[in-house]
Symmetry: D3
Subunit: 244 residues, 6 copies
């Protein structure tokens, strides 16, 4: 049983979200031996590809292809597998088939933990949709009566990764993950996102700020040197045998 590889699931509304918001967590857990799987619900072809569209001579297919390439490159750098649901964005809509498709991913991956977007984001309605879809898919995947006989999933913790304007999204980090050791991988993955270069330094600063904050929340015996961190908000309580 203990020989089984641990796994994690990341659900990203657009094909770059997992890089900015969870790239450190992905690289960190890949390093720890987890098989991390990313589902991109869309390519962000309409809403997050402004630079590509401004190039001219663009079609939705070309934009999608370029975005897919970037995302695959980033996932490889981070050490994760990635798949694309291609359900469209701005607006994103998920029907029951999409929900069950994601539930099936839960069944297949059997994740130890799950990452997706914040439950509120007034700047981007696709993000809460992705998180709600993720949570409902997890619930369906827990049901004995959905595809009876398959192995159901347990109750893996779900975390909301950091949105672009955290306070406006009522997102509060309750967990800081030290990503200092894997920061070079995250920054390399960030650099795969050629279409959104204006965000490279923004998310570098986010990682540095969260790093400083993480250091301010360490107890007395810790002597770690944290420089970069990512923040996460738990959806569910955690279960533990030790509080220290």
């Amino acid at each position: 049983m203990t020989e089984q590889q641990k796994t994690a699931l990341v659900v990203s509304a657009h094909s770059a979200d997992f890089v900015w918001r969870a790239g450190g967590a992905i690289a960190q857990h890949a390093t720890l031996g987890y098989a991390v799987h990313v589902v991109c619900l869309s390519f962000g072809e309409r809403g997050e590809s402004a630079k590509l569209w401004r190039k001219g001579e663009m079609t939705e297919q070309r934009v999608k292809a370029a975005r897919r390439q970037e995302a695959e490159a980033a996932a490889e750098v981070l050490g994760a597998s990635v798949e694309f649901f291609d359900i469209g964005d701005y607006p994103m809509r998920a029907d029951t088939d999409t929900l069950l498709r994601l539930a099936d991913v839960f069944r297949r991956v059997q994740p130890e933990f799950v990452l997706s977007h914040s439950l509120k984001d007034p700047y981007n309605y696709d993000h809460p949709l992705a998180m709600n879809l993720t949570q409902e898919a997890r619930i369906v995947a827990q049901a004995e009566g959905y595809r009876p006989g398959e192995k159901i999933v347990g109750a893996p913790p779900v975390y909301a990764f950091e949105p672009h304007q955290p306070e406006q999204c009522e997102w509060r980090p309750d967990t800081f993950l030290d990503i200092t050791e894997v920061w070079d991988k995250k920054y390399a993955a960030i650099q795969c996102m050629a279409g959104q270069e204006h965000l490279w330094e923004y998310y570098t600063r986010v990682a540095l700020q969260r790093g400083v904050q993480a250091k301010r929340n360490i107890g007395i015996t810790a002597s770690k040197h944290i420089v970069y961190a990512e923040g996460f908000q738990s959806v569910f309580p955690r279960v533990t045998e030790q509080l220290g």
Copy 2:
């Protein structure tokens, strides 16, 4: 460095609170090798000793003595040390001397983690006072300029243990501690509280309910048998290297 014994601090408004609300955590960490220290701000002589007062022939000194005895017995069962500030209850008031006295306890104990009451409790104003005092004492103990030269404390996590009517106190557990292994110790400590027998079964049921809930929040590889649990609400974000 690693040979140093880990420590924890529990701040209890009245002399029985630490038993009902954190007895499992105390016993569990004592078992894990922690030196757990309990500060009782008062004996609960006015507000939580109804049964004693109804005996007749009582004075505040006699009530305090009886309560002290119960608390010391309970602490011993749980494996913790205990001290009494004796600042009175109903109403509890803490002046700056009391604050600094508690800051000095922080400096002396250097706790890995801290437990106290919820920040809101419309049924009991002594409880939020205890938590606020605890948090401010921790802040003072972190200051280089308070008793310069002494070893300051780090930023140990602070948890609010469970109040009597959790929803009315806006208390939401984000951490469940499995106390199944030490339940017998907690129940033995509970039985030391002769004056509040009506609460024995109440807090047994609390532990069972939280046990069921803990099981509902366990991820996929967990195969533990949890029967009893305690819930805690974190005041600060935790810092970690792994989300699974």
Copy 3:
């Protein structure tokens, strides 16, 4: 006018929810002479019938039939009528026809008060859907222009009954209903739920805890002996002529 029988409406996402969460309220009001009507939106065939599925040789139809039988038996014990919308669960989806069907139930029943689920439940997305459907159906049933000429409904109070993990659902009881007199009926109804035996003692403890809490919120002239209670959260303000 006063001879007219008073009525109440309970909307249950799955066919057992009304028993665990509102069985006492149903029995209590049936005893008081109310005609209480229960709408079960689904049988909980996928998500809340694990024990049945594990029996083997099961089909969705068999599970539904077994669940219907249990729910009808429980309703009879509690003294309520029950109907089943059979719209499926995990995931539950309600189209406009279902909404209007429920609005028609409101028109037919003309309830004095309404009970359904909490508006948030991260463990179960069917529950908030049921409450939202209930609230919107009530609004449609109030509209003069919906089926013009029919008798519209007033503004009956709506209460959210207790979810499984109340704090995680941001559910706060503002009303405790004394169910001591009808507890035997509720427990008999609970025992009809053969497929979910693990919940019998859980909800017995819930009733005992809420009973203790109810006693802690009684004013001075009350001398009642409350042992069992159910908690409810009001959606709307109540209108009264007396505050005492």
Copy 4:
């Protein structure tokens, strides 16, 4: 036992607050036979007597005397008794003696219910102080060990009456009291407040708005004609035997 007169307690930060904010409730319960007692913590001599100060030739004693006269006249119109703690305003400060003095009022009055200010008011820090003092006094009065042998109080419901800018105070009415029958008394009491004439029409409109809102929250069998109402926010859950 049933022959005992029911009682209520109103704690007003300044000597006119009870009129604007709870005058209808006072008159209504006086009409129902309650002995309603009002405690005015201050005369509002500094902060709510601008018109008097502008008259010139004023001293704090003269302002207080004028305010006392107005408040006594208003209390008489409403049918309540009134006493004045005279602890000052802008800023208001309450020491332990004041707390115990109010606890003693609780013991003496043994109220069925209690009214005071909202727990937040960024426009007036005296108001939250009054409510916190009221709640803590109630808690002290419940303690067997405070003045042992005296009759303790039960757990009477506490309501926050309406602040001047309700949304800014995070005050949400969960209870509307119909005061149509006693509106003439409330308006007569309002007219006793010669120093704050600018508020007369303001609070008339408040009563009319709350009246309209109350009508929008009445269930189906109600056929009442509500014109004027007061809103209240409950601090504690209520205990009942009927939800309809």
Copy 5:
């Protein structure tokens, strides 16, 4: 550039909402030279036309026609243009076509600011739907990849206007707009709503109350005479060069 007329967009769930809730803002900005455009998603034919339905001999078409006439008259009085999406009410449902139709209005109007309903309203589910539709349409209209080549919109501020029972909708005004100068226009527009005469005085009182409150929030150099005001809640932070 500065010669371009400024514009504003108001999205109203039913055809009278914009009058009660934003009529002052519309008239005020029309006076300031803005081209204000109103989109009525429905005529409120089912839910807000009780008086018309009670006339007898009514059909949905006749009700709609009467409501359209009232709304057009009111818009003219206020100085705004108006269009009707006619998507129905009680329940209101908006498909993707409706969303894109509204996004196209955003692109066409290029509003400086946007007004719609509160995000929560337990009395009326059409209202939050309208606001969510508005916000999502604004997001789609911002996307370079939606109808590539068209002029996208910026990030105009969005405000929620006042719901009928503000506290129950968790609506808190953070902006008071002085409408004293245009009150006569707002009241004239209100009088166009022949079918809802019971609301005329209600919303007059709302404007007076908000006027008094606005005066209580004015800094020291202001010497304005405000009698009538409207309250608004911002969805997004504002950007400014001066705090005074």
Copy 6:
């Protein structure tokens, strides 16, 4: 009247807070012609002078003197006047004399707007104390009966500037102030804080992040180039004549 210089008041718990958190606002309004006055309640001698204490040979007086020098230099760079209440820190305590002293500053300064700390800060109890003191002093200064005859203050807007860990303080910026033009002054003032060099880059990044966010909240006609910004949270609603 219009010739009078506009003024602003900043209340800083420790002598460096006004630089990190409001230095841009101070410089910006000084540039606009405001007389900005800063009150430092303490020198931060105990809690925010770690580097000084570690130098050795230190006394509280020497630390205070060094901190005073830094703060005065920073204020001069920003173009503000500064005074020091010297009430101590870690813990900070403010008695009634301090409150009235600050009320007298309000009377003297007659500020157009006021800046202070967030109302919650679990990392630093001095910060909420400073904001509460500021708000209560403003209220006292508004009272006709406090020092009758003096010119009272109006209702100047109060803003909470940014705390160190914004989400943990439940602080949400609703106002972004463009400080691009004065950034060089703010950074020069920051460099006066020799004792807290570790914060220089932290608050540079804060200003850059808020600058990016500000740009994401600008409406359509804005064409400004914002690089640096400060965020503020309003305590009170603002009053305006234009929403665009």
